[in-house]
């Protein structure tokens, strides 16, 4: 492998109530690649992403970030990742701009957030409370974080939910730009991605394996 591994997973196992939900012997995420996680519903895609974001702790195994265990360099690691989950974390009472300023967790110039919203097709919606926006637009507000963050690693859980065809294209370009500038993307989706250099990884939870056999 020419590229160095950003993330390497070794023998990761996560159990919930004595059922193995995620079991992943070996998985690498390299700089400059888009990793697509695939699998049927309930196969543990979301759980794997949540393990990667440290929202939940595995029972066994380690996740290494640049060769160091993420438990050791937790702060550094968390500063370098950006996670957008099923729930978009968009506050409905706040405006799109307020939401972005809030989620950026740092000083954010109004111009920058306006530009990000504009490039996601939300020009003119920046000062409207988000409950007035449609589901797809709310999703776009959440995705605008991608343009504002300087995180190296993106974790996207079903990012295309409620997004129209143009939005999907836009997001795909975003991902490509990000990996070409030295980042990496881990994305779980059922859709076929129209991007270069996408690598696939299939998860199949043990509970499902048992159901099939």
């Amino acid at each position: 492998m020419g590229n160095p591994s950003l993330i390497s997973i070794e023998n990761l196992r996560f159990e919930r109530d004595d059922t193995t939900v995620v079991s992943c012997d070996q998985l690498h995420v390299n700089v400059g690649e888009i990793l697509q996680i695939e699998g049927p519903n309930g196969s543990g895609k979301t759980t794997l992403l949540r393990l990667l974001t440290t929202a939940i702790q595995p029972q066994e195994g380690t996740i290494l970030y640049c060769g160091k265990s993420i438990a050791e360099c937790r702060f550094e690691y968390l500063s370098d990742i950006l996670f957008i989950g099923h729930q978009s974390a968009v506050k409905l009472t706040l405006t799109a701009e307020e939401n972005l300023a809030w989620m950026a967790e740092s000083e954010l110039s109004s111009a920058a957030s306006l530009r990000a919203l504009e490039s996601l097709g939300l020009a003119g919606y920046s000062d409207i409370p988000c409950y007035k926006l449609s589901a797809g637009q709310q999703r776009r507000v959440a995705l605008a974080r991608l343009l504002l963050s300087d995180a190296r690693l993106w974790y996207l859980d079903e990012p295309f939910t409620a997004i129209d065809r143009d939005g999907v294209k836009l997001l795909e370009r975003c991902m490509e730009d990000h990996v070409s500038s030295g980042g990496a993307v881990v994305v779980s989706t059922h859709q076929d991605l129209d991007v270069q250099d996408v690598r696939h990884y299939s998860v199949l939870g043990e509970s499902l394996l048992r159901a099939y056999s």
Partner: protein, 227 residues
């Protein structure tokens, strides 16, 4: 990334205040509950000023407690449902500060208005004049205690769909010392005793709660909100 540890505190304080500012009706309901419930007592017991004066301090304290308890359940519920709680848990910062910011916002939205309105209720329930100052002072400190303790319960029940009643079960025993010293402060004031003594104990409880509750809340959120 936030520069200072205290940034998380202010950021969450500001956001929660802004959110309740946008939904004033919802934010005001604990206060309205407090006033409405207290007027049930003369209807249910007696309108006689002498009898009301005797129990006024207790009534006001009990309903302040209930109002806080009913409102504290929503402290983390919204954040849990829309995913911002998960974002908070994976953000590179000390969890205690945002938690404290959120609880402070809760107190500013419920405890402080309750404290400010309590003299009005004192008037309606014929609270003796010497009781007003002790009442507002004890409510100010006491409701902050209630917000902090209630937030522990709210964190414990955040991932449960119907956590409201359970929250009450969990939190009420923890509230008992607060109401004992809170109501006693008012009673001491009315009886002409040194009411600053029970008030000081209430202050000590608040100090302990500020030190310990955010730690408990933060660890509970990490342990149980994810399932």
């Amino acid at each position: 990334m936030r520069k200072y540890t205290s940034d998380g505190f202010y950021a969450y304080l500001r956001r929660d205040l802004l959110q309740s500012h946008r939904r004033l009706g919802e934010a005001a309901s604990p206060l309205i509950f407090f006033v409405m419930a207290s007027t049930l007592v003369p209807l249910g017991i007696t309108p006689d000023p002498a009898s009301l004066a005797e129990i006024a301090s207790g009534i006001i304290w009990v309903f302040a407690l209930l109002a806080t308890m009913l409102s504290v359940g929503g402290l983390f519920a919204g954040d849990y449902q829309d995913g911002s709680l998960e974002q908070l848990l994976i953000s590179p910062q000390v969890l205690v500060m945002p938690v404290l910011g959120k609880v402070t916002a809760h107190w500013l939205i419920t405890g402080l208005p309750l404290t400010l309105v309590s003299p009005l209720l004192g008037l309606m329930l014929f609270l003796p004049e010497a009781g007003y100052l002790p009442m507002t002072a004890s409510l100010a400190l006491g409701t902050a205690c209630l917000s902090l303790l209630g937030a522990v319960g709210a964190a414990l029940t955040v991932s449960l769909q119907k956590g409201g009643m359970l929250l009450a079960l969990i939190v009420m025993p923890l509230y008992m010392p607060v109401i004992i010293f809170g109501a006693a402060t008012v009673q001491y004031g009315i009886d002409g005793l040194a009411w600053t003594a029970p008030l000081a104990i209430l202050g000590a409880m608040l100090a302990a709660a500020i030190a310990l509750c955010p730690l408990a809340i933060a660890s509970v959120l990490r342990l149980t909100s994810i399932n």
